[in-house]
Symmetry: C2
Subunit: 322 residues, 2 copies
């Protein structure tokens, strides 16, 4: 029998709470997937052995033994150049030093090559390979989740910069210097306003500062999901929170357009589900703040990838380049 073609890849999305794994074919169909609890073991060796075992059983389940071309991994603080995960605050096993992740995982799965980058860069590769950015050579992916991540594509390649860490647009300065404190230690970052946490905070601040009636006043611990649901039900304050958030986002997108002149900005992540409230103010603020030559020319798109598959697809897409 002829040796089987290596025509499938594995995507792994490493998060603070869970790791998602999937076996993916060339069309972007996820043949098998599973979610495992992210190990709290402080030893990277133990964690990688667990992941390797999960990969093996998933590949067997999909009937794809011997047909895996490579493994793509999206991980916080993942570095494409070095294959390491270093000082990732939410990963107990990679929070206090640098873990030679790609090399170790590859060895643990019998030599299948492993490519690694951060989650937002993986999402950008995913959109370019399977999503709304298919065929685009120049776009910027912004992930609006708990934080704000970004992946920048220029000439069809993700921008990694001189050190592998380029594309931290969530930590560019929005609104003003000395603005809100951000989790990164700086103040005024885009992430402090345009993340799920930022939206909830804006709502809480406005409720405190005004007497405006709002259904949110009866919610004890407001989350961005509460704000979204209030907006859906017509709550004026909640809608204004999204207008404000979109305006700040659009202002910064204008800066990014002036940097790399992309065809489109692609928005993804939990907060991007509030498309109906975010799209108009974001687009308006972006167009008001770009040079005339880009006005009404750069598209704002929302990822169409199935939410449950997107992280796996993004990571897996990296592996096609191996």
């Amino acid at each position: 029998m002829a040796s089987k073609e290596k025509d499938h890849v594995v995507g792994i999305d490493i998060g603070g709470q869970t790791c998602k794994l999937g076996v993916v074919d060339a069309r972007g169909d996820v043949l098998a997937q599973k979610v495992i609890k992210t190990s709290s073991d402080p030893s990277a060796e133990v964690v990688i052995a667990e992941l390797a075992e999960a990969v093996r059983s998933l590949v067997a389940e999909a009937g794809m033994e011997g047909r895996i071309r490579g493994i793509g991994v999206g991980a916080p603080n993942g570095n494409y150049y070095t294959g390491t995960i270093a000082f990732a605050p939410n990963l107990s096993w990679a929070s206090h030093g640098s873990v030679d992740f790609a090399k170790m995982l590859s060895a643990a799965v019998g030599g299948i090559p492993v490519s690694l980058t951060n989650d937002a860069n993986a999402a950008a590769v995913g959109e370019m390979t399977y999503g709304v950015a298919k065929g685009m050579k120049h776009f910027i992916m912004i992930t609006l989740g708990t934080g704000v991540g970004s992946g920048i594509v220029i000439n069809g390649d993700v921008v990694y910069g001189s050190d592998g860490f380029a594309g931290e647009l969530g930590h560019t300065c929005a609104v003003r210097y000395n603005g809100r404190p951000c989790g990164c230690g700086k103040t005024g970052c885009l992430e402090a306003y345009c993340s799920a946490i930022g939206v909830a905070r804006t709502a809480r601040e406005w409720l405190e500062l005004t007497d405006e009636p709002s259904s949110l006043r009866s919610v004890p611990e407001i989350t961005s999901k509460d704000v979204y649901e209030a907006a859906v039900h017509g709550d004026a304050l909640a809608r204004k929170v999204f207008e404000y958030t979109g305006k700040i986002l659009g202002q910064k997108l204008a800066d990014f357009v002036e940097f790399s002149a992309p065809e489109a900005i692609v928005l993804f992540g939990g907060l991007a589900r509030a498309k109906e409230f975010l799209y108009e103010p974001t687009l308006k603020a972006m167009n008001e703040n770009v040079l005339p030559l880009w006005r009404d020319k750069v598209k704002i798109l929302f990822s169409q990838l199935k939410e449950s598959d997107a992280a796996i697809l993004g990571a897996s897409a990296l592996a096609w380049e191996l």
Copy 2:
């Protein structure tokens, strides 16, 4: 006799007042150069014929007939992809439409290939070919002149973006939205603060708003050069103007670092001559505003190219890629 090797290039820098031309060898030596008054003829055909004549006579003067590999041109609103100059407010012959400059000039000089980009991108290629960025794959050139221009290099290539106009960092938002009006029609642009015009304006504003003694009070029409000279002579207000300018510049450089993670930022242009007053506050503000992973890692360098040659060298460097 064997045909001569095409081992020289011509650089042309097109400005609002003058055009500079030079014949350059592979080491970056300018063998012959001349400055001609920029034609105010509204016909692009006439202007291009004049330029072609100037190229021919300069090449003859250098004794390099038949040895010109290509012509590189830096021009306001020059587009690398299309070879056009379009809607350039300071060029009477290219202010109201698009001029097919590269093609027309090439035809007018007997088919020598012509490559075109804007002046700041040309400066970036010049630094990479002959200057302080030699050997660098990732850096950002910022030209601090009458305006603020920029050329971004990633993986050894200038970033032109989807349309050829990427790298307008002078028009990203500094200080605050709704800040100073900028020549581009927007408000709060970096250029409104960190250009020669911006420095002069800051000085004039401060003189009006305070009673602080300053030698600048006796200067009728303050320019950035006046501010620089006052600073050299110890004027406290003038020095504070540069501190303020450097702080604003450094804050925005931090955003740019978070975009493309360059090895260095290279500063060039008339205002960059105030290095002794700009360097410290710029570096300090950049380091205070980047993520910890880049703190004290990204260099700020000043162009070392001979001022009189720099524009020609930058443009000429483009031609080596032809």
